[in-house]
Amino acid sequence: MSQLVIAFLVLALLTCGSALSMLWTKNLLHAALAMFLTMLGLAGLYVLAYADVLAVAHLLVYVGGVLILILFGIMLTNQTDPATGKNHLMTRESGRLLPISIGLSFFLGLFWLFTKGPWINNLPVTGDSKLREVGLGLLTEYAFPFELAGVFLLIALIGATFVAKSHD
């Protein structure tokens, strides 16, 4: 087993384990922390798939942006428990059996599909960083979608601030 596979196993364990703990916990803040760990593991997996540009963008966007947004959302929609006076962070759940069994059956089905597929294992392998190609591509061939994504982000953020302000 090469060092690369060992690194992959560690990162995959981090990702899957914290995703499972996100599913298991009922505390909203614990779930946000577990999502942080999931995103860290995913960034590592992106690096191992030679997508280092995407890994850095993912870290900036998810850990720096989305997670803070979620924490603000939790803070602004906070409810205090009338009995104890403490913050009420526990979420209620529907019955655990049915959703988890549906998710498990989806996982087993996809696992079976991926393992049985004859079209995956014999792909050729290339291995180096794609940083230069991605930079060139985003400024030449994919320049228009790139600018469009920027304008889309601007529209979405202005729309979000408009929706979130109080309309009294």
Partner: protein
Amino acid sequence: MTDIPVIYFLWVSAFLFATGLSILLLKKNTIFILMGIELILNAANLNLVAFSKNDHSLQGLYLSIFVLVVGVCEMAIALAIVLQVYRNYRAIEVDQFKSEY
């Protein structure tokens, strides 16, 4: 040095997708459901990146960058909507949204 097979990435992404789907079905808090959607989006992204490892034109990698941008936009708008819903109903759990009219 031998490379990591594509199928390992596919297994991890299948696991992430199943976990996100379970979170969507299980939890009743709206912010929790949004976190499940983020997990599903990232499972799709991991698939795109893993296949683009073997693609010289790198189309999956470009698509995954745009998926990232759209995911962020969705999260910002959705949290703004959750905030407005909380102002109107004083609740963020999906079975407490009942019309009073």
